[in-house]
């Protein structure tokens, strides 16, 4: 009998087919349509920005992260998502820096995959927003020649971008500062100014549905975010239409869809419990509306998610599942 080559393992001896790299790479692959859409609207600039951000993320993960950690695919997602939430005209050196910062301080220093408390892509983006507030709020107009650059993408590292590209405000900025509405169809299709990937809501929703169907993202936070924004936004709009835009505008504008589908679902930085995910989603939704309507900034998705990230361990703490039999044990006593 061939006993020598037997292995012994602890039970269970079998395992479901899903693995962490498989989940990560599928999510990364699901971003391809979003990237394609952004290339359609913003031309080669979008691809260059995404490339630079991803390069920054991957290089940093490779240099500072654990050995072979590039294989799990999470750094790829971070880079792509960061690229997708930057304006298409931002100098590439800034996008690269954002990727490096996000992975370095948002992930590696925490111990790598699974340990970080804040969304690395958003940490990178928040850093860029704070460091270069002007560059990151310069929104080029979509459309035009595919190869025409949307800004000074090749600005010399550490130097000002100099460019004279036609800029346009984002729908949210237009509403907040000029009180100008944007047609809903433009929002849904994505033919508006804004970040590389936050424009086309419809494509992002489709990708999200696909991932939820595969079981790779938990639908609870995205759904609760969208519903909360819709309801609260609608309520405020009813109270004061001049200050708060209508609910559908709220839902389809800005980075809400990208944030809800891809960032509020990063299991590492949102609560592990399902109840906690509802709380996270509702909290994020409320913050988005509050920042957009009452805050100084036109957009609030990034900050809302980061703030809720900070609350994640606390939410986890308060939403631990009720262990089987503990309720009846209490009743018995």
């Amino acid at each position: 009998m061939i006993a020598n080559k037997l292995i012994v393992t602890a039970s269970p001896h079998v395992k479901s087919v899903d693995s962490t790299p498989r989940i990560m790479w599928t999510v990364a692959a699901s971003l391809v349509p979003v990237i394609a859409a952004s290339a359609f609207f913003f031309g080669i600039s979008a691809l260059l920005v995404i490339f630079a951000a991803t390069l920054g993320a991957l290089l940093t993960e490779r240099l500072l992260g654990r050995p072979l950690s590039l294989r799990d695919g999470s750094a790829m997602i971070t880079g792509l998502l960061l690229g997708l939430c930057l304006p298409p005209g931002i100098p590439m050196w800034m996008a690269f820096l954002g990727g490096a910062f996000g992975i370095g301080f948002g992930k590696v220093i925490w111990g790598g995959l699974g340990q970080n408390g804040f969304n690395p892509a958003l940490i990178g983006r928040a850093f860029l927003q704070t460091a270069f507030p002007v560059a990151i709020t310069t929104w080029p107009k979509p459309g035009g020649n595919f190869f025409a650059l949307k800004g000074d993408l090749f600005a010399f590292p550490f130097m000002h971008p100099v460019s004279d590209v036609v800029t346009s405000a984002t729908p949210l900025g237009l509403f907040k500062f000029e009180k100008l509405p944007t047609p809903l169809l433009d929002l849904v299709l994505g033919t508006t100014g804004g970040s590389v990937g936050e424009t086309s809501a419809i494509i992002i929703i489709l990708c999200g549905v696909f991932l939820a169907w595969k079981g790779y993202l938990n639908w609870r936070s995205p759904v609760s975010i969208v519903v909360t924004v819709f309801l609260l936004g609608g309520l405020l709009h009813l109270i004061n239409p001049a200050k708060a835009p209508d609910a559908l505008f709220m839902v389809f504008s800005g980075g809400l869809m990208l944030g809800a589908v891809y960032m509020a679902t990063d299991m590492v930085t949102v609560p592990t419990t399902n109840k906690g995910r509802w709380v996270f989603g509702i909290g994020t939704g409320v913050l988005v509306v509050v920042i957009r309507v009452y805050g100084g900034l036109p957009e609030g998705v990034m900050y809302a998610i980061l703030i809720m990230n900070a609350f994640t361990p606390l939410i986890n703490n308060f939403t631990q599942p009720a262990v089987f039999g503990t309720r009846t044990l209490k009743e018995a006593k």
Partner: protein, 192 residues
């Protein structure tokens, strides 16, 4: 009036959070935030002392220090220190349960610069009594929020596999940086 008080409260709580934006009370923020329970309790004790400070500082400014502004710093610190001592003794005597929960943090608070800073800000910003109390509440709850969040994140980190070089304090400061960045989302609140 209400909107003025609301602005004072929220801007102190969120936008100019004493810990995350003004760098006050960092000793406790970094030193005593390893357990959620400790975090919020210290925050609660702090809030209490802050409110008391606001009240007594208003009285001092109004009735004692009007003629001797140069004694502000020294008078404030002495009053705060005595106040904390008195409160400690009173709580210990009459509310032993509360003392066990919060009282042990009181001595820590005396040397917390947030308290003295509150007294000074309140003076330079010429807040009246009510404004002062609201200001103190905002500051105290802001501290509590920061302490609790930091503690909860650090509790989670206790089980994480942090790189050796970040173990001592490095990562904790990076977390503070991230939190501070996140709270910048509140900027401009109330101005629009």
């Amino acid at each position: 009036m209400i909107s003025n008080l609301a602005w004072i409260f929220f801007s102190t709580l969120l936008i100019n959070n004493f810990t995350l934006a003004m760098f006050l009370g960092l000793c406790a923020f970094f030193g005593v935030t390893t357990k959620i329970d400790t975090g919020w309790r210290l925050g609660a004790a702090n809030t209490f002392v802050l409110v008391m400070t606001a009240v007594s500082v208003w009285f001092l400014n109004r009735f004692v220090l009007a003629e001797a502004p140069y004694l502000r710093t020294i008078a404030f610190i002495v009053v705060i220190a005595s106040l904390v001592q008195i409160v400690e003794m009173i709580i210990k005597k009459f509310l032993p349960v509360l003392f066990r929960e919060l009282g042990i943090y009181l001595p820590l608070i005396t040397t917390n610069c947030a308290i003295l800073a509150l007294a000074l800000f309140q003076t330079t910003r010429k807040y009246n009594l009510i404004e002062g109390i609201v200001f103190a509440l905002g500051a105290g709850l802001g501290l509590t929020l920061a302490l609790t969040l930091m503690a909860s994140i650090r509790e989670r980190l206790d089980v994480a596999d942090i790189p050796a070089m970040a173990k001592r304090m490095g990562l904790v400061l990076i977390i503070a940086s991230c939190m501070s960045m996140a709270f910048m989302g509140f900027a401009g609140m109330g101005s629009g």
